[in-house]
């Protein structure tokens, strides 16, 4: 009871095809079971035959075969494993918890007597972060450009990354930034200008 593989043609149905599976995976040896409810008997029949032939051959590669298909393609059978849904659901949320914890980093500004702390998770991207810094420290940071850094300002936001290096805020994608940023420092004056003109 194998699903028919959609043939590629000029209209490129493949790109718009709805199917189970991770984007980019090939639909070659697809072991996607048909809709669980309507074809449950077929599925169980199929797997029973599979297991019989495999157990006869004395190998344990039935488990391996199941792994060929990408995990997302394997439909979970209703009511299996036999765990009450309350228990099943209890631990789903756990996986997202680390993501919801804040990423707090210290922010220092040259010449300021004390530091501040901000939660990088609270910002969607660089514009919001820079705006917040501007408000917090009552200064203007200016526009970021890849070539020239922060021009038109005495200040440049920098950060220390995982390797201990001081980087200019804005060079790397936002997600990479918040995962590698350890602390922020708003450089001022000649140092700041040096960084911009260095680039």
């Amino acid at each position: 009871m194998e699903s028919k593989v959609t043939c590629e043609n000029d209209l490129n149905f493949k790109a718009t095809e709805l199917r189970l599976g991770l984007p980019g995976t090939d639909d070659s040896e697809k072991h996607t079971p048909p809709s669980v409810r309507s074809n449950k008997r077929a599925l169980s029949h199929e797997t029973t035959e599979d297991s019989r032939s495999k157990s006869n051959s004395g190998t344990s590669d039935f488990g391996d075969d199941e792994k060929e298909a990408p995990p997302a393609a394997k439909a979970q059978v209703v009511g299996w494993p036999p765990i009450r849904s309350y228990r099943k659901n209890c631990f789903q949320p756990k996986k997202t918890e680390p993501e919801s914890a804040g990423i707090y980093v210290k922010v220092s500004m040259d010449g300021a007597p004390y530091l501040r702390k901000i939660d990088l998770k609270g910002y969607k991207g660089y514009p919001q972060l820079l705006k917040a810094l501007e408000i917090m420290f009552k200064l203007t940071i200016g526009q970021y450009s890849e070539r020239e850094g922060y021009n038109g300002s005495d200040y440049a936001p920098t950060y220390e990354d995982k390797d201990g290096d001081w980087m200019l805020v804005g060079d790397v994608p936002w997600e990479m930034f918040i995962s590698s940023c350890k602390r922020l420092r708003i450089m001022k004056g000649s140092e700041a200008r040096g960084l911009g003109s260095y680039v």
């Binding site: 169980s44 344990s60 488990g63 792994k67 059978v77």
Partner: protein, 625 residues
């Protein structure tokens, strides 16, 4: 998790329930004298005198004596036997039975039960089949409480206790209950649904309430403050279990309630109670023996985030023997429970995401532990720590954190083997894993001869012994062979008909059997139906058993509480044949809610003995043959 005698009796008590006794009694009572003669010594004597003596007095005296004696008879099985002796014993038993046990709510009607038993004070009622827990029974299938509560409201105004399992209960039912039974003392709802906090509020108002236990129920989240509805004065509360209630409760009211409940021994809080609140409650109730700790975490409230919770109440407790909860556990606070570990007989960590390192310091002090539920997050190493210390362990349950077939393997045959070697007194095990070997299962069968319940769930369907590649036949075979007291068995993994031949040959005491994705042919089921004389409850899914196998069990179905078969190889004809030949069997074919007529191959069969014939409340997707 409470050691409720009615709960344990499923596996321990080898009795038949009311329906079983009822069926036989109905047939026998129509020719009582004949059965009297056939039943031997004592029965004949009484029956003969009653039948032939013209004066009523000896009969009367005998009945009075009998009643007084029967008052002491508590076991269902003994009572059922006593009721079969003769008419006067039947009458006397019916008058003195105070605890009514209905294992299947459709096996007998409320009216019939009430007609026979006049003085019932306690009811145990079970509804849906167990596979309903896993979404295999469509909603609105049945098992409504209303017919029972409304009949009993009129018949048993002195009713004191109600225990329901897998029954649909509405708020209105609970309100009716609260109004109808002025002496009401105990309500225990297990795996029930259909009610909410409005119903709980009504029950709380029962002035003599001692026990309100909600276990694994689905409670509607309406916003009634039911905790505030308990009597204002000192209460009789002994047990309040509401860890399954998802909505927050009024904590201040709860604290006041606990403070005015001096008899409170069991308190299980829901996840909305944090550590600070837990401390306040424990201080109010130092006499607690069973405690469900709620979240075991600090408050979500940022204002309180910096406060360190006071955990000293555990150190001062002298009476705690059972701990559970830990719903959102902060493992750093686990050391707080060290002082009670040595006294613990029951520990439920099945919601606590802790690893072996975090479990070890706790478990190594729990040398009196008899019952342990954990998550497989503790891994094989954690189980080894359990095996090293918990020599008195009777019951172990290992639940999966990742309940998927292809999930992460956290525990394996290594953990099972360790447990079998360390916990020789083990009686009951439920073990979820991704992989297993026959050798480990065989070892357990040899090391743990006291096993009464063996439930192994290898989550990958049809998964063989991962070392040898062979089916798991030999492992389960060894279990039924060596564990001579086994009454409950759940099998999994790759299994051929051989496994079932072992079960049929050796599983002479098995009452409950769960089968999934197993077997090769009709022979598998036939072995079981022909070989297991004590079989009461058989639930099978996704296994290649067909009509031939179904028909091989006709001799036994009246002795069973039920048979469930889903996604097997049954057809309508086969089921109709069974229905034709077994008039006291109700044969239900359950379709999915949105499908129309059933076709020849049926998906779900649920059949059970009954005195009532087809039930009147069957929904449209249920066809009774």
């Amino acid at each position: 998790m409470r050691e409720d005698p009615t709960e344990m009796s499923e596996d321990d008590d080898r009795t038949t329930d009311l329906a079983g006794g009822g069926t036989i009694v109905v047939e026998a009572s129509s020719n009582k004298t004949r059965s009297c003669g056939g039943n031997g010594g004592g029965g004949v004597g009484v029956g003969t005198i009653a039948d032939y003596c013209p004066s009523p007095y000896p009969d009367q005296v005998l009945e009075n004596v009998l009643e007084n004696v029967l008052l002491f008879l508590t076991s269902r099985r003994d009572r059922n036997s006593a009721s079969l002796v003769c008419k006067s014993w039947y009458r006397a038993e019916a008058l003195t039975r105070t605890d009514l046990f209905i294992g299947n709510c459709y096996a007998v009607s409320p009216r019939r039960a009430i007609e026979r038993f006049k003085r019932v004070k306690s009811l145990v009622l079970k509804g849906k089949p167990r596979f309903a827990d896993f979404s295999l029974v469509p909603p609105n299938w049945g098992a409504q409480f209303f017919p029972w509560v409304s009949a009993m409201a009129a018949a048993y105004p002195w009713l004191e206790k109600i225990y329901l399992k897998r029954v649909s209960v509405t708020d209105e039912d609970l309100i009716l209950l609260a109004h109808s039974f002025p002496a009401f003392k105990e309500l225990v709802l297990v795996c029930c649904d259909g009610f909410g906090t409005a119903g709980l509020a009504a029950v709380a108002r029962c002035r003599q309430l001692r026990v309100l236990d909600l276990i694994d129920d689905e409670v509607n989240e309406d916003d009634v403050d039911w905790i505030s509805c308990f009597p204002e004065s000192v209460t009789c509360l002994e047990s309040l279990i509401f860890d399954c209630v998802e909505s927050p409760v009024n904590f201040d009211a709860l604290e006041r309630l606990v403070a005015r409940s001096p008899s409170l021994k069991r308190l299980k809080l829901n996840r909305h109670v944090n550590l600070m609140q837990l401390h306040r409650l424990m201080v109010r109730a130092p006499q607690l023996t069973h405690l469900g700790t709620g979240s075991f975490s600090t408050s979500d409230n940022p204002a309180q985030a910096d406060q360190e919770p006071d955990l000293s109440a555990f150190a001062t407790s002298k009476s705690l023997v059972c701990l559970s909860g830990f719903r959102d556990i902060v493992p750093d606070y686990l050391p707080a429970i060290y002082p009670v570990c040595a006294r613990l007989t029951s520990l439920n960590f099945s919601y606590a995401n802790i690893n072996a390192e975090q479990l070890r310091p706790v478990i190594c002090q729990c040398y009196n532990l008899q019952t342990l539920w954990v998550l497989d997050s503790v891994c094989d190493e954690g189980l080894q720590a359990v095996a090293a210390t918990c020599k008195e362990l009777h019951e172990l349950r290992v639940f999966p954190m990742d309940a998927r077939e292809d999930g992460e393997a956290a525990v394996s045959e290594v953990g099972l083997l360790a447990i079998s070697e360390g916990c020789r007194k083990l009686r009951s095990i439920l073990y979820f894993c991704q992989q297993m070997t026959n050798a480990a299962v065989v070892a357990m069968s040899r090391n743990c001869p006291e096993l009464v319940v063996f439930r192994l769930c290898i989550m990958g369907r049809h998964r063989p012994d991962h070392l040898t590649g062979e089916p798991m036949d030999e492992g389960f075979g060894a279990i039924v062979m060596n564990c001579k007291k086994l009454t409950r068995l759940a099998v999994s993994g790759l299994l051929s008909d051989k496994a079932f031949s072992y079960i049929g040959e050796y599983g002479k005491l098995i009452r409950t059997l769960s089968v999934a994705f197993a077997g090769d042919s009709d022979m598998g089921l036939t072995y079981v139906l022909k070989g297991c004389p004590k079989l009461q409850k058989l639930e099978i899914r996704d296994s290649p058993f067909g009509n031939l196998a179904l028909l091989s069990g006709l001799h036994h179905y009246y002795s069973m509480r039920f048979l469930w078969m889903s996604t097997c190889k049954l057809t309508l004809e086969g089921c109709k044949e069974v229905a034709r030949r077994m008039p006291y069997l109700v044969v239900e074919v359950i379709g999915d809610t949105d499908e129309g007529d059933i076709d020849d191959s049926i998906d779900k069969l649920y059949m059970y003995r009954s005195l009532e014939g087809p039930r009147a409340d069957a929904p449209s997707f249920v066809t009774i043959l």
